[in-house]
């Protein structure tokens, strides 16, 4: 049985091939990461249209910068950082055009349908509560719970220590508990 290749090594190899001029290597990177990028964008923005737009923009940025990627961080960490930066820009842009609460920035796709079931209501409450967390706590929570990143990976993405990432996660949970009730 062939051992599963390490995703980080696979990504690095694809990056090297792209840097050597193999255009198709970029498509393979997109293929490997598009779902994760899209889901992260969806978690952070709350709807398909914005998530799709942001995922595409993220890969455009990846393409532009891939020639300079040296592999100090993993490709996954790097792309996650790009998505978080884009989301921050998007939120700032939205806030300047339409002052609103954080909860309103990520409306549910089908709130009327979601209201039909308690589970959806609970999910909506949680989603809004996550959206109302301070930025770094929200990002840390999403990366850990939804993207299943390890704390050391989150620390690399956020540019902080593992201890800070861990503290952000804990405070995010505390804040969430306070918002939705225990």
């Amino acid at each position: 049985m062939t051992p599963t290749p390490d995703p980080n090594q696979r990504d690095l190899e694809l990056v090297r091939r792209f840097q050597a001029g193999e255009e198709g290597a970029f498509d393979q990177l997109v293929e490997a990461h598009r779902r994760e990028i899209y889901r992260l964008a969806y978690r952070l923005l709350g709807n398909h249209a914005d998530a799709d737009d942001l995922a595409q923009e993220a890969f455009l940025r990846v393409y532009r910068s891939l020639g300079r990627f040296r592999g100090e961080a993993s490709f996954r960490t790097w792309t996650t950082r790009i998505v978080l930066n884009l989301v921050t820009d998007r939120r700032r842009e939205l806030a300047s055009h339409r002052p609103s609460s954080l909860e309103d920035l990520a409306p549910a796709e089908h709130p009327s349908e979601a209201g039909k079931q308690d589970g959806f209501i609970q999910a909506e409450i949680l989603r809004r509560a996550v959206g109302s967390l301070p930025k770094r706590q929200r990002e840390t929570l999403i990366l850990r719970v939804f993207q299943e990143m390890k704390f050391h990976e989150i620390a690399a993405v956020m540019g902080c220590t593992v201890g800070t990432a861990k503290a952000n996660f804990f405070h995010a949970l505390r804040g969430l508990k306070h918002r939705v009730g225990s």
Partner: protein
Amino acid sequence: MAMMSTKCTEMQRELAWLIVEEDRTGTPLGISEHLLECPRCALEAQRLRALVGRLSPGAVPEPPAAYWQSFTPRLRIKLAAQGMAGRARTGWIWAMAGAAASFLLAALAVGRWETPPETRARLHLEQVAQGLDPDSLQVALDTLLPETDPGVPAGSKDETTAEAADMAQALEEVLPEYESGFNGAARESATTQEPRGTQSPDPGWV
């Protein structure tokens, strides 16, 4: 309810490790024991764990297969629109430019190796002028002034000289009063020393 101790505060900061159960080896020593003996912290850990459990099932709706099939082609269109697509083509252009530069260099090198004799002679002369290689003078002269001029057929020098003398005589007949300083002096000198017909030819002139 018991007051929260300093130890509880410290332990709850570390609960993150325990809640997500990421790495048991990273769990600070004593936290498990503390949770066993402190109902307050144990309850907090239980609530937070339940909260994470409630968060996790909130899956992102999966877009249809058609969405994923169109994802990369749409990205390619945007790349092309922004003038970024076809890095490989750009690389090909650079490769062509490199090949052209190599060809030019090769052509220059070949040209240098097959320098015409006149050019080589001029190079020798330049070296002589710069005082770098006096011996090159002879080489240059031999090249520039071969013993037999290929442009003039052998034996035609006398004919050319005769034609020139005839032309000079004809000019004197047509323009007897014309005298330049040099020609007049020369003619005067010749007439005072010897009659024209008896003048001996200068052996070094030809």
